[in-house]
Every structure is written in structure tokens, then in C-alpha cells.
């Protein structure tokens, strides 16, 4: 590739290329609209680089296969959409419990069920958080443009290695199928976090679930010098099943705290015109593109509108939202669902009665007027 080459790409293609940039060495997936192009691009790129690409029999086997391949020392990814993401939930929980790095891309489409396969939606935010059973924390990232899709895909791999866990990249049909120009970053331009392998020598005891002082758990790949057990059962630091209440208690707190304690490090967001804003728009993904236009339209009319674009959805950056919205008269959350991030924002701010929803759930992209109408309505009411 030429230096700083500018390519005209589809969002899904950007995601695939970013995965290659991050060093993905194993991909398994199952075709599903609107994510399929990620697999199609990787099916072409990966063999050429000597990396493993597999099309599996379903989404369940896809997520299981990537977890298996992660344990044999690979950076791994799968991509899917709503129905496939639903099928993956049990194994995602396994990934959390067994603490296996992997990246799951969910290109959201209309739901529930088969819903609207070729239409836009952002209704999987809460499923991403609570889709699998049991207590645990999750990391989920999103993006509204191609530069960010690239960066967040790389970040998803980095976080999965750093925190040793599944990380979800929540894209949506609009940005995944939209084409725009992108300058492909040069190697080394974006930081890449590699797997932390244990330095414990062969004849010493290696504990796969014993965290270092900094909270990280060094790994040892299957086939390497340390043999240990991995299980979805509650387990001790050796990876062996345990029914001991103390062991279970420590484990659950660890699975939650290993993310919650670092949520400021994980928080990715952008603010625009927030210095004087008394109306704050909060948005993400495709909706953020429209919200940005709304902000600019209303600014032209002299309204003090600012915007927060979320790129980290989970862990939810609640104290950041609290601080940024402290002086707002109104907070409007623009999203393509019935109020999933809205719910989190209401929990985060000091006055939840000042938080309103601008949404669309009909499969068509929310447009700037949809959001503007809500602001106008509030101002009419507010005066």
C-alpha cells in the first residue's frame, strides 16, 4: 500500500482492514446482513497474509471457535448482527468467565427477531450490556465515521488484550454500508497492545487467574509450557472449578471491578461546543452524524447547543456525563431505539427530568430535523 493512501471504503471494509492492522490472526463467522462484508473482505485478505479465516456452521460455533483460537495464541474476531449476536450470548459469557480476549463486532439492524435486516437501528446497546446471564462488566465501543471505525476496531483489540476479555464493537447498518474516504493509518501510527504472556518459567507454578499488582492477568497459550484448566464454572486461581463461597465472591468482584475500576481509561468520547452549551445533545454511531448537523443548524440560529459523542458505551461514562451536563437546561439523547442510552444518561445526571429522547425506530436514519423538533418542543415548553 502507498504511504497514507486514501481509499473510498464501506464501513464494514474499514472494520476488516482495521482488524488486520490490529493483528487479527483468526476469524470465524457466519453470514448475516448487514455485517457480511466484514467476512467477505477478511476471506480475501487473511489467507494472503497467512492468517486463518473460517466460515462456520452458525454464530454459536463462530464465537466458540474464536475463543478456542484465542487460547492457542491468536488475536481473534467474529462479526455478526442482532440475531447472530443473540445466539452468541452464552459463549460471550464464557469468554467473560474464562477471561479470554476476543472481539465481537455487532453491526446492528432493526429488531426484535429478524426485524429489518437491511435497516438501521441502535437497539442492541442494552443487550450488549446484559445479554448474557450473570454479573460481569463489559466493554463496548462504537463509531460514527470511518476514521473512528478504524480507530475503535483497533481499540477493541487493545482493550480485549489489556483487560483479557471479550470486547464488543457496536456498529450500525448506516455507517457499515456507507462509503467515505479514509486515510489508512501507517503501521505504528496507532498503538497496538499485544498479549501479555507470562514470564513464569517452565518448572514453576503458573496461575492463569492470579492477577498481577496492576490487575493484569498474564496468559500462557495452549500448546505452550504451562498446562492449566479453563472452565465456565466458578474457578480458583488455577482455573479449577470451585464451590467455595469465598472463591466465587472474589471472582465475581474481580469480573466487575477489572473494568469498572478502569472506566476512565476506557472512556472514549468527543465534545463539541460544550463551553457555553445550555442544550446538550448526546449521541453516538449513525445518530451522531445527524445530531452534529442539528447542533450546527441551531447554533446558526443563535442557540447555545453543544454535543457529546460517545464512543465508549460500556462501561457507561456516567461521571463524565454528570460533569458535562451539570449546567445544561436540557439534555437530548439522540439514538435509534426506545431510549437505551437515555436510560443511562438519566441515571448519570443530577436532574433526570431535564433529559429527553430524540429517536427513530422505523429503520430510516434519524435526521437532523427529528432531533431539532425535540429541541424546539422543549424550548416551547421551557419558556
Amino acid at each position: 500500500m502507498k504511504k497514507n493512501e486514501i481509499l473510498f471504503l464501506q464501513g464494514n471494509e474499514v472494520c476488516a482492514r482495521a482488524a488486520m492492522y490490529a493483528g487479527v490472526s483468526f476469524y470465524a463467522g457466519y453470514p448475516i446482513t448487514p455485517s457480511t462484508e466484514i467476512a467477505e473482505v477478511l476471506a480475501e485478505l487473511m489467507p494472503a497474509e497467512g492468517k486463518a479465516f473460517m466460515q462456520m456452521e452458525d454464530e454459536i460455533s463462530s464465537i466458540c471457535a474464536i475463543i478456542g483460537a484465542s487460547l492457542t495464541g491468536n488475536k481473534v474476531m467474529t462479526a455478526t448482527s442482532g440475531p447472530g449476536f443473540s445466539l452468541m450470548q452464552e459463549a460471550i459469557g464464557y469468554g467473560h468467565m474464562a477471561e479470554i480476549p476476543c472481539v465481537i463486532v455487532n453491526v446492528q439492524r432493526g429488531g426484535p427477531s429478524t426485524g429489518m435486516p437491511t435497516s438501521a437501528s441502535q437497539a442492541d446497546v442494552m443487550q450488549t450490556r446484559w445479554g448474557t446471564h450473570g454479573d460481569h462488566s463489559v466493554i463496548a465501543l462504537t463509531a460514527s465515521n470511518h476514521e473512528d471505525i478504524f480507530a475503535m476496531t483497533v481499540e477493541a483489540f487493545n482493550f480485549s488484550e489489556l483487560y483479557r476479555m471479550p470486547v464488543v464493537l457496536l456498529l450500525d447498518e448506516v455507517i457499515a454500508h456507507m462509503r467515505e474516504g479514509l486515510t489508512i493509518p501507517e503501521p505504528g501510527e496507532l498503538p497496538i497492545i499485544e498479549r501479555l504472556n507470562t514470564s513464569v518459567p517452565e518448572d514453576s507454578d503458573y496461575h492463569p487467574y492470579f492477577a498481577r499488582e496492576d490487575g493484569r492477568l498474564p496468559m500462557s497459550e495452549f500448546g505452550g509450557i504451562h498446562r492449566y484448566n479453563v472452565t465456565g464454572l466458578a474457578h480458583d486461581m488455577w482455573g479449577f472449578p470451585s464451590n467455595d463461597p469465598e472463591v466465587a465472591n472474589t471472582l465475581i468482584h474481580h469480573l466487575v471491578n477489572k473494568v469498572e475500576n478502569y472506566k476512565h481509561d476506557i472512556a472514549r468520547y468527543k465534545t463539541t461546543n460544550m463551553d457555553d452549551a445550555d442544550i446538550v445533545l448526546i449521541s453516538y454511531g449513525c445518530s451522531a452524524r445527524s445530531a452534529k448537523q442539528t447542533m450546527s443548524n441551531l447554533r446558526q440560529r443563535g442557540l447555545r447547543v453543544g454535543m457529546i459523542e460517545l464512543q465508549t458505551l460500556w462501561p457507561f461514562p456516567d461521571d463524565i456525563i454528570y460533569d458535562l451536563c451539570r449546567d445544561a437546561r436540557y439534555v437530548v439523547v439522540a439514538e435509534m431505539n426506545m431510549g437505551q442510552v437515555l436510560h443511562q444518561v438519566k441515571e448519570a445526571v443530577s436532574n433526570p427530568d431535564r433529559v429527553f429522547l430524540a429517536n427513530r425506530v422505523d429503520g430510516a436514519l434519524i435526521n437532523p430535523e427529528d432531533i431539532e423538533n425535540v429541541v424546539n418542543l422543549l424550548r416551547g415548553k421551557g419558556k
Binding site: P47, M54, R227
Partner: protein, 266 residues
Amino acid sequence: MAVTDYLREQFMPHIWCPGCGHGIVLNSLVRAVEQIGLEKNDVVMVSGIGCSARMAGYLDFHTMHTLHGRALAFATGAKMGNPRLKVIVPMGDGDALAIGGNHFIHAARRNMDLTAIVMNNNIYGMTGGQFSPATPKNRYATTAPYGTIDEPFDVVKVATAAGASFVARSTTYHVNELIKLIREGIEHPGFSVIEILDQCPTYYGRKNLSGSAVDMLKHFKENSVKIGKGTGAPGEIEIGVFVKEVRPEYCDKYESLVKEVQGGKK
């Protein structure tokens, strides 16, 4: 290496009931691995959920105790992620054929070098004795108090039809043959299925008046015939190697594909 070197004895006694056949399978498997002379670091064992799945914890390999029915899917990723490794997958009949049925047929179709050991005791043991896809018709289980009306799967036929390149069957009575078959399965360069008829006196046996573990083993002894030597009588158990063909193995095929792509031939 001594046979016991392959065991994690610190985690014994095992959880299996008295009379359970799973210990015989474990014993046979370890002896097969020992005869081949596999290095412990070169073996990955992937299991699902159920009584059978606990085998992984007792063996000193790289062990992954995964989800119900999904062992072959995890194993597929592990093997493809490092084709140098020997991957052995112990499964129960419910694990392999019901919830895991889809993965079972597709693993067979792909012909990846995995060794699937189906420990068929005709029952869900871990949950307390419900009928499985391998429970014969008109047998009893906690969820079939009036007898089953379901037709069972024939593991050998399913595996053969789905494309497994090594398919064998034996029983926990035939320990020496079992060691040989497991060894052959592990050494076979492709997807191997070894069905082992295995006694569950606690749940299957008790509900179906099969007697003690010894009685159940005697049943295996008295009703087993070598392939082609039987009379076709109902209840006859054909044992031996049904399929053994060397066909292109999945990881090898992928490696060739990569070479062709990189060499500009594709």
C-alpha cells in the same frame, strides 16, 4: 512416561458415580496417549458439559471445559489456531448429538484432525437421568416415565453420513480394543469418531432394570459382535472400525490454499 503422569491426581477422587463407565474410558484414553508417546504440552483436550466433560479436568493436558454441546466448535478454533496440536474431544451422547448435533455433523464434514470420543450411556446423567437422542425406543427416563417414543440416533451412521474419515465403535467391556481404537483415532489424520457404549447404572440402569454395572458390562460382552459377524438381531452391538479413509485434512487444505494465494496462483 508412566500412565499416571498424564493424570491430575490432586483433583481425584473423581465425581463419577460408582460403577460409571467414564473411568474406563479415561483409563483407555490415557493408555492410548501413553502408547503413542504424546507430549503433554502437545495435547489439548476440549470438553463440553455433562459427566463426560469432567474428564478434561483430570488430565494433565491443556484443558478447556466449555459449554454444553459446543466442545467441537471450541476445538475447531483451537486446532485451526495451532494445527500442530493434537486435539481430543470427549463428549456425552446428549452433548454430542442433541445440543451439539450441528457442530458434530459439520466437524465431520470439514474433516479437521480432531478426535471425538462419544461416551454413549444413553442418558443425561449430570441432570439426573433424562432421555437423550441415543436412548433406545421404549426405555425409561425421568422425562420418559411411560417410555420413550423417540427414535434414537445411530452415532456411527450419523458420523459416516456426515463425512467423518474415521468411525469406530466399542464398549467399556472391551478395554483392550478401546485403547487400540482410541489410539487409531488419535493417529488418524482427519476427523475421528469413536463411539463408546458406556454404562450408567445409576440413572439409565436403575430406570431400565439393567442391573448392576457388572450386569451392564456383561450385556455389552454378550451382545457385541465384530462388524459383519452378526445376525442382525435387535440389540446386537456391532463393534470395530467402520470407516478409515485418508482424505484431505482441513488444516492441511488451508495451508495449501494460503501457499497458492501467496504464490499468486489464486
